[in-house]
């Protein structure tokens, strides 16, 4: 029978594939650096490839998925703690970097390339260093709301005029989790809980991710939402009817989320890891990230930015102790935020 001739062939082919492919490259002559990154691959890969071109060090990038859709890379780092594969963790926010420090997975490293970066965006013990930042902004649909009608504070999303019109990503994950912890840190427990309960009572919707917030607001299904500047910029570049507001300029300020780079304790390629960190913290990288679709704000005032990217000194950043947000977030994720999500999702 034809099938029976085909099957052994298919089996042999699969065996060849396995034998040929599963013998991985060992440590070659070429130096290597392994980078785990929770920054979107679309933005991270060009930078990593630039490092490889410039230094000749082979850079192996392991990008993360959206946290809400699969068990993320941080779990892999935690599970690999006894014999890490990663040299560097390039985090999209400082809270995950602080989690690594809390769990004893990071090593201190003061990079000479960090000169000029503000100290408030770095760990005091040099376990992580912040650079180019995103901000948490209010995104609104310009077909449904004029600039004058748009909210200027996140707290306004509990206002009855936005009843059933506002959305927010699941605050147990990603930058929304950090934003929630920041609100608790700045507003205090009672007022922050009042905000979240008011948001839900006002018919606010909890979506799976910031990207989903962008899509729903751009499509007009929601009028306003809270998302990150890079999400907003993607919608802007696609010509969607959206605008962004950096909230609370006169109040608590806007949450600023710098990238954070961490050297992994016991990294197999420690020196190459340090070189990658030096590369990442250069003003040039901040410029590239500002010019990319991520539209990230450089933390150095001296770096020139395109017209659509705000400089850090043009907004009022929320005053945060990023190191203290990690334990606070852990407490909130097991307590109020988990219960709030459980109460308000189906």
């Amino acid at each position: 029978m034809k099938t029976h001739r085909f099957v052994p062939l298919l089996g042999c082919l699969a065996l060849c594939v396995v034998l040929a492919g599963c013998t991985d490259r060992g440590e070659s002559e070429q130096p290597v650096v392994v980078i785990y990154s929770s920054v979107d691959e679309f933005f991270a890969r060009p930078i990593v490839e630039g490092f490889q071109r410039e230094t000749g060090i082979e850079a192996r990038l392991v990008p993360d998925t959206e946290e809400t859709k699969s068990t993320g890379l941080l779990n892999r780092l935690i599970a690999e703690r006894n014999r890490p594969q990663a040299d560097v963790f390039w985090s999209g926010d400082p809270v995950r970097a602080a989690v690594l420090k809390l769990k004893g997975l990071s090593a201190p490293y003061r990079s000479p390339a960090a000169a000029g970066l503000p100290r408030e965006f770095a760990d005091a013990d040099a376990h992580w260093t912040g650079f180019s930042a995103r901000a948490r902004v209010i995104i609104y649909n310009t077909d449904r709301l004029s600039r004058d009608e748009a909210p200027s504070s996140v707290l306004e999303l509990t206002d009855p005029r936005f009843r059933g019109q506002a959305c927010l990503a699941n605050p147990l994950f990603g930058t929304t989790a950090m934003h929630a912890a920041a609100l608790f840190s700045v507003l205090g427990k009672d007022e922050a809980e009042r905000f979240f309960d008011g948001f839900a009572a006002n018919g606010g919707r909890i979506l799976s991710s910031n990207g989903e917030v962008r899509r729903r607001v751009a499509a007009g299904e929601c009028t306003v939402g809270i998302t990150d500047t890079d999400d907003f910029n993607v919608a802007r570049q696609e010509g969607r009817p959206v605008a962004a507001i950096y909230p609370d300029p006169d109040g608590m300020g806007t949450v600023v989320i710098p990238n954070a780079v961490v050297l992994i304790a016991g990294a197999p390629h420690f020196e190459a890891g340090e070189r990658f960190i030096d590369f990442l913290l250069r003003p040039e990288t901040e410029r590239l990230l500002a010019e990319s679709a991520a539209a990230q704000m450089p933390l150095r005032q001296s770096v020139a930015v395109p017209a659509h990217v705000r400089q850090l000194d043009s907004i009022r950043p929320m005053e945060l102790d990023y190191d203290s947000l990690a334990p606070l977030l852990e407490e909130l994720s097991r307590g109020f935020l988990k219960q709030w999500v459980d109460r308000n999702s189906r």
């Binding site: 594939v17 599963c22 959206e66 809400t68 068990t71 599970a79 014999r83 993607v234 189906r346």
Partner: protein, 515 residues
């Protein structure tokens, strides 16, 4: 000389072998199960887990029921009649089984957003989650029913036709395939329980979503392990009685032998019904979500970026699929031979196989990561390589090969082994000339099914792939959050085209099912 009767000999060695086999498969889950067991905070699974489990079970049962009700007649009609566009319609309807569920969920969500706010809100929660899974359920049940119908003998079909015309042929064929189709629908239902994607995208709290929260928001591996154990126990409680009830019928059905292959009949009235049904299903469950997924391409395609992603990930994608398929088939067939013809052992294998299916990919993958992290560097080729990804995928998916292998072995008359033994045929010759060709078709089918399921399993690849060795679905997953929609749509198109190419391969080479 070893006698071929060895394969038929009962004994405690079968139980020992099967137990050892499943023990090996369960080893990777032990690190996390152990953490769950020794946790100091009792056996709490969290307040929200039980309602979420309820939601998951409702989704699983609905998906299985819809898949069974719709997929069974579609498969039977496709297996009995020749009609215009048959091969294309069947290929289209097979597509949902080849593309990861999260892509269908995104496709539905995007299509609904284009249709309007009402459609989008209507899909929120249960309807959207169930719809995203329904395509896969219908696809798998349809293909299973098609294969079951094609296993009927021509004389059986002729007899039914003479007794009551086309209606009787269709009804009796549906009855013939109902149990196997039910089992296939049940398996898809079980697979939905460990898949968090569609629930997260459409805003439904599910058990898999809760486990994901325990892993990714709380970093509480012990809680995730406990939740997983509860999920497994709940499903086994529900599934075991069904398996017990279905087993006798399955055995009867599986032992039927084909003597004369049936020919596809031509009947204008039934053909119209078949075309109408299959076209409607293809439109609803394939074209609609696919349109939502690919519509951004109207604004232009990102050809260069897609090509770069393909060249970077294509080989690894093939390798993970092929490697997982091969490992799963080898292990599954050996286990099927060990299970032999014992009904009790067969039921035990079904239950244990279902339990393995239920494990969230992260549980097995993180187990491998823990073991790899504690093992010495010389074990890296086994525990930290692309081979590890294949083994981890095969560990969870080998029950597919086991079930198909058991089916093949039980449809094989034991008198053949006896006859071979009486005539002094050596076991080696018997295996080479009779057993291996007989296992060829189920092994090939299992290789393809496991390969496809492995390709769609993003979680395992994310946690285990060696740095720089990602797969295409993982790449789509990692860029879809923030990349422009045109790039995501281009990558999705590349994936769908690859899936179609696999379908063409199946159609041309393993055309026995379709023709």
């Amino acid at each position: 000389m070893i006698s071929p009767m060895l394969l038929e000999r009962p004994g405690s060695w079968r139980w020992i072998g099967v137990t050892l086999g499943f023990a090996v498969a369960l080893v990777p889950t032990l690190p996390l199960v152990w953490r769950a067991a020794v946790a100091t905070d009792g056996f709490s699974v969290g307040d929200a887990f039980v309602p979420a489990l309820g939601n998951s079970l409702v989704v699983a049962l609905s998906v299985a029921a819809i898949g069974w009700i719709v997929g069974l007649p579609a498969g039977v009609l496709g297996g009995l009649y020749a009609f215009r566009g048959r091969a294309i319609l069947i290929a289209l309807l097979a597509l949902p089984a080849l593309v990861p569920s999260f892509l269908w969920a995104i496709g539905w969500s995007a299509a609904a957003l284009r249709i309007g706010t009402g459609a989008s809100q209507a899909l929120t929660g249960f309807p959207g989650t169930a719809l995203a899974f329904c395509g896969m359920a219908i696809s798998v049940v349809m293909l299973t029913s098609l294969a079951t119908t094609r296993s009927l003998t021509a004389s059986q079909i002729d007899a039914a036709r003479i007794a009551g015309g086309e209606r009787t042929v269709v009804v009796q064929s549906c009855r013939h395939g109902a149990t196997t189709a039910g089992l296939a629908a049940g398996l898809v239902g079980v697979l939905t329980l460990s898949d968090p994607g569609p629930g997260q995208i459409h805003g439904l709290r599910t058990a898999a979503g809760e486990m994901l929260t325990s892993f990714s928001a709380l970093y509480d591996f012990a809680l995730a392990g406990r939740q997983c154990l509860v999920l497994t126990a709940a499903v086994l409680l529900l599934a075991l009685p069904a398996i017990a009830m279905a087993a006798p019928r399955l055995s009867t059905q599986l032992l039927a032998r084909q003597s004369r292959a049936p020919v596809l009949a031509r009947n204008r009235r039934v053909s119209r019904i078949a075309i109408g049904l299959l076209t409607l299903l293809a439109f609803l469950f394939v074209m609609l979500p696919l349109t939502g997924l690919l519509l951004p391409l109207l604004a232009g395609a990102e050809i260069l970026a897609t090509w770069n992603a393909l060249t970077r990930t294509g080989w690894n994608t093939l390798l993970y699929a092929g490697g997982a398929g091969l490992a799963a088939v080898t292990f599954g067939i050996v286990m099927a031979l060990l299970a032999g013809r014992s009904a009790t052992l067969g039921a035990a294998c079904l239950a244990a196989g279902l339990a393995l299916f239920l494990q969230p990919p992260a549980l097995i993958a993180l187990g491998f990561v823990f073991v790899g992290s504690d093992a010495p560097a010389w074990a890296d080729p086994l525990l930290r390589s692309r081979l590890t990804v294949c083994l981890a995928l095969a560990t969870r998916l080998f029950p597919v090969a086991l079930f198909l292998g058991m089916r093949a072995w039980r449809s094989f008359p034991s008198s053949w082994s006896a006859a071979a033994a009486v005539h002094g045929v050596p076991a080696r010759t018997f295996l080479r000339r009779i057993v291996v060709p007989m296992f060829g078709f189920p092994a090939g089918t299992a290789l393809l099914i496991v390969g496809l399921l492995a390709t769609a399993d993003v979680g395992t690849v994310l946690l285990l792939h060696p740095p720089g060795q990602a797969s295409l679905p993982l790449t789509i997953f990692t860029v879809m959050a923030n990349a422009p929609e045109t790039l995501v749509a281009s990558l999705c198109l590349a994936y769908v085209v690859a899936a179609v190419m696999v379908l063409v391969l199946i159609h041309r080479v393993v055309g026995r099912i379709v023709h």
